[in-house]
Symmetry: C2
Subunit: 292 residues, 2 copies
Amino acid sequence: MTEADFIALMREVAGTEAARGLYDDAAVFDVGGKLLVATHDMLVEGVHYRASDAPADVAWKLAAVNLSDLAAMGARPLGALVGYCLGEDAWDRAFAKGLGEALAHFGLPLLGGDTVASSTRILGLTAFGIAERAPPGRGGARPGDMLGVTGTIGDAGAGLEAPADSSLARRYLRPEPRIAAGAMLAASASAMMDVSDGLLIDAARMAEASGVSIAIALEKIPLSLAFIQARGETLEARLFAATAGDDYELLFASEAADTPIGTVDDGAGLRLTFEGRPVPLPERLGWEHRGG
Amino acid sequence: MTEADFIALMREVAGTEAARGLYDDAAVFDVGGKLLVATHDMLVEGVHYRASDAPADVAWKLAAVNLSDLAAMGARPLGALVGYCLGEDAWDRAFAKGLGEALAHFGLPLLGGDTVASSTRILGLTAFGIAERAPPGRGGARPGDMLGVTGTIGDAGAGLEAPADSSLARRYLRPEPRIAAGAMLAASASAMMDVSDGLLIDAARMAEASGVSIAIALEKIPLSLAFIQARGETLEARLFAATAGDDYELLFASEAADTPIGTVDDGAGLRLTFEGRPVPLPERLGWEHRGG
């Protein structure tokens, strides 16, 4: 069964308005007049990280992917529960130390969790945050909106094959969730989500959830100097960047955007252009059944 | 590394008062003047449930073990996030249906979650609840308190080897977390926790967290008629019941208890008696490194 199939089944059983977490990056519910935002993301060895990745980097990523979901909801972090699979002593010790450092870096207190023993390492983290206002969600994009992103795209994808000490590898190993940008954008964006599976697939999801079409001008996607040096800025390089995933930037639709990468229109689906000419959609828009 | 070792490392990095979840069954934090209680428990196939167990029973258990942690904190359920490992279609479908039924039974709305693909099935659930008052926690037992439990002990343990349609098997497959009892007891108990790993090991943990000794009169442990019919009520049967785990009853210390099973005294550790005579502690007090 695919993730989409399972989520469809869960939507049937959820039966509550708070379950926007089944559509959006996180659930939102009212607690004492505050908007509590909660998200749970898992990392599986060999799927979401490489077995050779340093335990401290994995711990960082586990915190970061969840904080990125909070960021997408415009929420400030409040605390975390961790679900950990015990393994070899040295790995566990390095993970614990790295998790402590990551949580301190992100200002995310550890509140509790659970440990189990398992041959396959699956790591989970639940992050809570508080949103100052009702999050835009991914379903609010309106025709006439501009489409924007909070930073460069494709670095993490290029970082997978870059030397471990390069800035590109760092973007893959140590993503920085856009908490501050998310909290600011939540005031003006009509739709917002994080880019985890790939810019194109995530934009297509925003279009679908919003009942609109989205057009992206590939030449406007921001690329870092390090990315351009490694991969160039050809159409091919830009399609690689836009489908690579693991960016953890925020994608948003809003009436105005400083450096828009596209537009929201009537209709449905995703359209691409490069320097004014239409570009057919690549076969793979991003990571589809990976979860996370 | 054992669970205790990892939790010790996590305590070093937690550094916040809200992290009572690292000692207690769940974390408690203030949101808008409300006490939000959050817990995350995982189930691993072959450890916490049998590969042959029906998916709907596994789904039930996943919800119940987390709700039992809320119950131990005197909290009423608010919502859940689920972390699911996708597998074969039929199993996934039956799990989703069963989870929907369990959540409806428990009044626990599904708010969101995550799915991943993995060869080993590890299931996680985060449950949130609201406590009307600061939960007693496991560390508040005082010399002079009575020790009580909310129901019969040992049924689930005996149920592992009982016919699948028996009441004992049902206690193993479909535990009923003591939400209402927990909310009531939270007002008067000085310490409270759920019995998941075994009455003796959980009582020893309460004694350690409270800095007291606990004495249990084994003949006073409540046994069900079905348990007595299957196992008898000898000392041996009672030691089996008290170390079997998976009871999901609440263990509490309080100034008064209707049918106390023991007492709280100065000192440290756990002491057992049977009809007035001292009984040496069994080598295994319960499940030690299982998590959950």
